[in-house]
Amino acid sequence: MDLSYTAEEEEFRARLREWLAAELPGLPPRPDPLDWPGRRAYDCGWQRRLYDAGYGHVHWDASPTQRLIFLEETERAGAPYVGANFVGLLHAGPTIAAEGTPEQRERWLEPVLRGDEVWCQGFSEPDAGSDLASLRTRAVRDGDAYVVTGQKIWTSHAEVADWCELLVRTDPEAPRHRGISWLALRMDAPGVTVRPLRTLAGSTEFAELFLDEVRVPVSHRVGEENDGWRVTMVTLSFERGTAFVGEVVACRRLLGELARTARENGTWDDPALRRRLGALAARFQALWRLTQRNVSEAQATGGVPGTGGSVFKLDYSHARQELYDAAADVLGPDALDLGREWNLDRLSSLSYTIAAGTSQIQRNIVAERILGLPKGR
């Protein structure tokens, strides 16, 4: 058990911190949240700066500890998130890197790292929510192309993406997990329609994707035909690994802001609320430590995040919802004002126990895969 860093890592941190301090003041102003092209340009511009400074590859090639340091320092400095590059850098990119042919890696990876091309994700379907393997979007082989028809949902950045990592059913006769393939879809291909999807927070950060006989070259399939489920699991394990590091750092910063606001508006004098904030601070500190442990384990096992991700996500998603409930109590009547900080975030946080595997599904995973309890219902 050691929480100290090597000299090399400390140097990495110091250099990064110095670079961030120099670079951030020169960033353009943040675009409006509803200005999608503006957001794309901003996020890609940031990725290009990272690339030019030698940090473009940090999610792929750096050690888990370096990645942890990178996420911690960028969040602490208030640097931009991955934003529009999320899928490219953390989902599709790693998948192509692990499973693609040399030609595919050559074609797709560099543009992502340079912030030239944006990817989105076409996994979820309206009728296949938690049960991803029941997806119905069909791809029928026609010469050197697949003809794809179906509907996807919860696709973020779809309006401005160049590519979509798409799961399709290539063998309707095979058992659920067996007939699925992974395709790279050009978003400007004929037959692709994007419709913005409004969430309960009032924003349109997601979209629905309608695919009507869209032709995708067979050469754009990553992995073997009908082997897409396994290919996908590689991607998902990245998502459940260290993807939340920045969020935990953000929550700890939010707790400090809450305490400051509470001291200003007098709610800090209520011991019930004060202890609740204390208890939440303890919990997020522990979640931060749990992340460090998960990273230690990933590092020891060659970079593959373990089942610790499900344990983390279960507690984190509920803790973050509780954090915004506490924020609402600090704000009192102002919690009803979407013009005040935190209240829109509170609405967004309602999806945390649902997205990327509901808490119910996560509990199944923990019970079956970690505790070894029998599959059942």
């Binding site: 100290s4 904030l277 303890a282 442990r293 344990v311 019970a367 309890l373």
Partner: protein
């Protein structure tokens, strides 16, 4: 691609943990536990001495003073094992007295201490009492394995009390982990409605929740042992208390009627978890301590 933030126990630490686990399995297995329940209030001096020889009490004394020369990270591993085994006796106070009270390090002297909350465990059985236990009156202790007296509350949280809170939290993690294991084992064995109950989502999800609490609390305790930070220790105590009590209750629920019997061990863990939670830095105080640093 190597990094030193390795939060996992290293090989020496794993060996140490394995050693104490084997010692406890051999010397304080289930029969010894139930014998202690049936004849409570006595410290097993032979076992105490063996613990001393294994370095349980002298663990953090410098080698030049005859100790093992290790630190809090190793100590929390040992105390988690002690908590898992429900080992009785004033382990924390004796460990903290090593080097200050003669014979404590070797397991020859049994030391207890008046807790900041005014509770004194094992007063009659201890050789040495630290703190002012004058006028302490006996309670009918809820935990058959922890005799208790009440003395006036001091409220002060000395530096020693902060370490006591951490080691007590480590014992709570042991209870949380034992309860998870016991619930999973029972759920995988007990049949109802034609299948093992571990196949029912309601039971599975209880067990999953227990594991999550254990892992979060363990990460908190181990990190607090590394940093020895007062606030981080308070947070770890809070999470470990909650994990131990909640897991013991869920374990009892998974066991159903069987868990409600005296013969089942789960109630011993619940009662001990209550005692440990109350002894030092109870919930509200721990939460205030963490809040004060915000």
């Amino acid at each position: 691609m190597t990094g030193a933030v390795d939060f996992r126990p290293n090989e020496d630490q794993r060996d140490l943990r394995r050693g104490i686990r084997e010692l406890l399995a051999g010397r304080f297995g289930r029969e010894a536990l139930r014998a202690a329940v049936d004849g409570p209030g006595r410290v097993d001096r032979g076992l105490w001495k063996e613990l001393g020889e294994a370095g349980f009490f002298a663990l953090r004394l410098p080698e030049e003073e005859g100790g093992v020369g290790l630190g809090l990270p190793e100590a929390v591993l040992l105390f988690e094992e002690a908590g898992r085994a429900l080992l009785p006796g004033p382990l924390v106070a004796t460990h903290l007295a090593a080097g200050a009270v003669e014979g404590a390090a070797e397991g020859l002297t049994v030391v207890t201490e008046v807790s900041p909350e005014g509770l004194v465990p094992w007063l009659d059985a201890a050789d040495v009492v630290r703190g002012d236990a004058a006028g302490a009156v006996p309670l009918r202790s809820v935990d058959p394995l922890t005799p208790l007296h009440r003395a006036p509350r001091t409220g002060r949280l000395s530096a020693g009390a902060v370490e006591a809170a951490l080691l007590t939290a480590a014992e709570q993690v042991g209870t949380a982990a034992w309860c998870t294991d016991a619930a999973v084992a029972h759920a995988g064995r007990r049949e109802q409605f034609g299948q093992v109950i571990g196949g029912f989502q309601a039971v599975k999800h209880l067990c999953a929740g227990m594991l999550v609490r254990t892992e979060v609390a363990r990460a908190a305790v181990q990190a607090a042992a590394v940093t020895a930070d007062r606030v981080e220790i308070a947070g770890a105590k809070l999470l470990a208390d909650e994990a131990a009590v909640a897991n013991a209750r869920d374990c009892l629920q998974v066991h159903g009627g069987m868990g409600f019997t005296w013969e089942a061990d789960v109630h011993l863990h619940l009662k001990r978890a209550w005692v440990r939670a109350a002894l030092v830095l109870p919930g509200a105080k721990a939460a205030e301590e963490v809040a004060s640093a915000l």
